[in-house]
């Protein structure tokens, strides 16, 4: 029990962030008309590519003097992360283009 209390106290900021982020996510989605569900899912998917930051940190501090498995995996992590981010945002933009076109006419 005490372990749990200590854990909570030490990580209270993060626990706050998590709790509030969950509400934020629910709140934002509940207000979206179903017309926009697919672009929204796609946009959210692009944001989940935020793992790219982890990839950059990891690859950024990998020793390049010796060839290692970590280097190869790190490069793949960054490539995959970028695919998720760039592909996700571009495809969302393309979907949303279709909604915008009509506004001009």
């Amino acid at each position: 029990m005490e372990d749990f209390l200590v854990y909570f106290y030490q990580n209270k900021e993060v626990i706050f962030i998590i709790a509030l982020s969950i509400f934020l996510g629910v709140e934002v989605i509940s207000n979206v008309p179903s017309v926009l569900h697919t672009p929204l899912m796609s946009g959210a998917n692009a944001i989940s590519g935020v793992i790219i930051i982890g990839g950059i940190i990891l690859l950024g501090h990998t020793n390049l003097n010796t060839f290692s498995l970590n280097l190869v995996l790190g490069i793949f992590a960054v490539i995959f992360g970028t695919l998720n981010v760039v592909g996700g945002f571009v495809v969302t933009d393309r979907m949303l283009d279709m909604f915008k076109k009509k506004k001009k006419k």
């Binding site: 179903s34 926009l36 697919t38 959210a44 695919l83 969302t92 279709m98």
Partner: protein, 473 residues
């Protein structure tokens, strides 16, 4: 005494980095918020992208490793090269893909995000400086499941992977979950030397990958939207887990935010189909066929000229589009039909079922592509009260979403799913390729209704022929 940065052992750069993460996190939230309105959606997507770009750039220049050094020029070049490579591929794929293939593509990009999370976690697990083993392993498991699961979902939507459903898959999956949990606990509870630890993490990765495959495998194609949304949510959570490793607030907030957004979207979709999430995950659509014994009545066809006369002299027409319309690429022809009818003074609306197409809102995107104004797209709950006043309902390539069995046949697997009440309108024209069953694999009694006339053939060809016929009237 005032505290200086030096006292805290940090540099101005560290502070700027954290501020940039804060800005990025805020931009993610604002971005998704703006996406909730068609007018501002494009701007919202752009803001979120700017937030991501900002976080990437500041990380590249300002992030300091354990020994305090920033990312070296050489490492920076490797990173930028990888980003350019991934960016070009991503852009090309995203630009070239057909709009009908959109759900697969989202699933594919989701898979790459999951893979990136799993890889980061895999490497961090054998990093001696990383003190948060629990979240690392969770990130590894969740990322790997999201990756392999999304790849299978991609394959299924693309028609490359079929359904496998047998009783044993359920037991196998429960067994796998137990195995994964047990191995995780074992890895966390006992100290191992480096080599064992690394080996175990690879075994765990393998198990999670297999679980992801077997988890999506038995789920029917009709449930794929729910699965993609669920996997999307998982990718977000996996990214947040990696965020814990680096105490990176932008990753934690972004990941959890997307995770909860995806989760609530998943539940909304389940609700639209009147099924519980557990039901989606464990059982494929029953295919029980208990309802098939009922007297079916007869199918009546309609000729093109009859159909064109019927439509031209109607006042209110409702079109119910389904995936068949998307597959046949009939959205442009449909728009021609709509314009033609409107010139004749017919009021035309589209009735959009929440799960029409392969993803919620997929149908809207497809119709928007063909220049159908989104004001014409009416949601199920808003159009249903109007159905009895509708002269003709045209069902194009849709099936289960207009199946009245959902309302009155408790033995039907889709019983309780809200439907578009096409059967209440005065006339119904069903455009279909043949007498095949819908995605859920169940008989549709709407087709045997006295008011229903069938127009067999490819949706695009049928609609084009109809357009030509109406023009000649």
């Amino acid at each position: 005494m005032e505290t200086t940065l030096q006292d805290l052992g940090i540099t101005t750069g560290d502070v700027i980095l954290e501020i940039s993460y804060l800005v990025a996190a805020i931009l993610f939230v604002i971005g998704l918020k703006l996406m909730s309105h068609p007018e501002s959606a494009k701007k919202g997507n752009l803001w979120a992208a700017v937030g991501m770009g900002l976080a990437m750039v500041t990380t590249l220049f300002l992030h300091r490793g354990v020994s305090g050094q920033t990312i070296s020029l050489l490492n920076g070049i490797v990173i930028v090269s990888a980003i350019i490579f991934g960016g070009i591929i991503g852009t090309v794929i995203a630009r070239r893909i057909k709009m009908t293939a959109m759900p697969q593509l989202v699933s594919f990009f989701n898979a790459t995000g999951g893979a990136a999370s799993a890889l980061v976690a895999l490497m961090e697990y054998s990093n001696p400086d990383n003190s948060s083993a629990t979240v690392t392993l969770l990130g590894l498991i969740i990322g790997a499941i999201a990756f392999s699961g999304s790849m299978i979902a991609y394959g299924k939507l693309d028609g490359k992977v079929g359904d496998i459903f047998a009783k044993w898959t359920t037991y196998f999956n429960i067994f796998m979950l137990v195995l994964i949990t047990a191995l995780t606990v074992y890895m966390l509870a006992f100290d191992h030397d480096m080599a064992t630890q690394t080996m175990l993490s690879y075994i765990l990765l393998g198990l999670a990958l297999i679980y992801g495959i077997m988890f999506v495998m038995p789920i029917g194609g009709a449930d794929m939207p729910v699965v993609i949304s669920l996997l999307n949510s998982l990718t977000g959570i996996a990214a947040a887990m990696a965020g814990f490793i680096y105490s990176n607030q932008a990753m934690i907030l972004g990941g959890i935010f997307v995770g909860s957004a995806g989760a609530i979207l998943t539940l909304l979709m389940c609700k639209a189909m009147n099924r519980s999430l557990l039901n989606v995950i464990i059982g494929a659509f029953g295919g029980g066929g208990a309802a098939a014994d009922k007297d079916q009545g007869t199918i009546k066809e309609i000729s093109l000229s009859d159909a064109s006369v019927l439509l031209s002299y109607s006042q209110k027409v409702v079109i119910v589009p389904g995936y068949g319309l998307a597959v046949a690429q009939a959205q442009y022809a449909t728009n021609d039909l709509v314009k033609l009818l409107e010139d004749k003074g017919v009021e035309v609306k589209f009735a959009i079922h929440p799960v029409a197409g392969r993803m919620p809102g997929h149908m809207n995107v497809l119709l928007a592509e063909a220049d159908v104004p989104y004001t014409k797209l009416v949601e199920m709950d808003d159009i249903n009260p109007d159905m009895p006043n509708t002269d003709v309902t045209i069902v194009v390539g849709a099936n289960d979403v207009v199946n009245p069995a959902a309302l009155d046949d408790p033995s039907s697997p889709i019983y309780g799913m809200p439907i578009i009440n096409a059967h209440e309108s005065k006339n119904i024209i069903v455009m279909k390729r043949g007498m095949g069953k819908g995605y859920a694999g169940i008989e549709n009694f709407l087709f045997f209704n006295d008011k229903t006339r069938m127009l067999f053939g490819n949706a695009k060809d049928s609609i084009q022929a109809l357009v030509n016929e109406i023009k000649q009237l």
